[in-house]
Amino acid sequence: MDLASTRRAEHLPCGAEVAELVEQVAAGRGDQRTDHQATCPHCSALLPELDRLWAPIGEFTHEQVTPPPGLVTAVMSQVRRLVAAAWLSLRTSSRGTTRVARWVVGRIAGLAARQVPGVHQVLSHVADIDTASQPAPAGHNRQPRDAADVGAGRTAIHLDLVTQYGESIPAIAQAVRHTVTKRIQDLTGLEVTEVNITIDDITPEPQPR
């Protein structure tokens, strides 16, 4: 029997299972022979042959693949449309309306919190941006609200933090609350009524600065 038809058999004459030998080679362990394989003429004939044939396949399976650069952005903008992130209007005049997505306010909160010493990681989230915010149907963008309403509702920011061991948690929380409120006010004009902070974890490592 030539080696090509040997591959198609279930067992070698020595009783070794061909599928197991193929599996061994595919896992990159073709050269790690068992005691039997080291001495068996059938196994020692087939294994190097399989190794040789599998080499280009193995090379291909390990090739690096880079996802297209816009994939995350495309996914997230679709997801954001699905949740119909409420648009907050900041100012309406005869010359047009300025509005900002709820998501952006969350981003600002996260970036601001990150600047507070002792804070390592932040996940931020804006909830109950005002009492009138209802989820819009998927794919439907909410129309900007009247500027008169801005600041009338409750703007609640939720932050999950990982802080540094040794730092006072109440002190960090207070600093984060102050920084986030001020930053959002400065950048958007929105008034933040609540900053809810959860400390999820602490890290022993010194903060990289």
Binding site: V22, R52, L53, P67, S124
Partner: protein
């Protein structure tokens, strides 16, 4: 830096409507999802569409994810099923010849390496979709047999059977080139 939040935690937050948590998961898994699509569909354009659809579908289905399996297994199941459906609906998906990376060496050797690569692509494309799925998850993604079985909703012996047949096809295709 968000790498330190583990999957279960991020999934839990994302289920609560937390977009930032979901975005971290998308960043973490985009390569794996895209790679499965690329190897299954053999076409970068289709792969990008499939990966995007699968990740959005993951968001939509997040509420139904109960943590019975790992998030990665659940996500692999979504992208694999999506690719299998695309292949079923459009059995003759057009495979774009991949551009050959520049190889150094004598022209005849380069030509041979490129031809061998084309033969390998063709052999993978010729596999039945179910076999290809098992091959991609095991050999390209490095999933265990148990994970592949969970993703494809088949038994471990069935996974081994599909894999063995798929490997034999590829070995046969490499025979003339070595």
């Amino acid at each position: 830096m968000e790498q330190q939040f583990d999957d279960a935690y991020l999934v839990c937050r994302a289920q609560g409507g937390h977009l930032g948590a979901f975005e971290v998961l998308v960043e973490r898994y985009q390569t794996r999802v895209y790679r499965v699509a690329l190897r299954m569909l053999a076409n970068p354009h289709d792969a990008q569409d499939a990966a995007q659809d699968a990740l959005v579908q993951a968001w939509k289905g997040l509420a139904s994810f109960r943590g019975d399996s790992a998030f990665s297994t659940w996500l692999y199941r979504i992208i694999t099923n999506r690719c299998l459906k695309l292949l079923r609906d459009r059995p003759r998906t057009q495979a774009l010849p991949e551009t050959h990376e520049a190889r150094a060496g004598r022209p005849d050797q380069v030509a041979e390496a490129n031809a061998r690569r084309d033969a390998l692509h063709a052999a993978i494309a010729a596999l039945r979709p179910e076999q290809r799925a098992a091959l991609v998850l095991r050999e390209f993604e490095g999933c265990t047999y148990e994970e592949v079985a969970a993703i494809l909703a088949i038994t471990v012996p069935a996974v081994k059977g599909r894999l063995h047949r798929a490997r034999l096809e590829l070995l046969d295709a490499m025979q003339p080139w070595t």
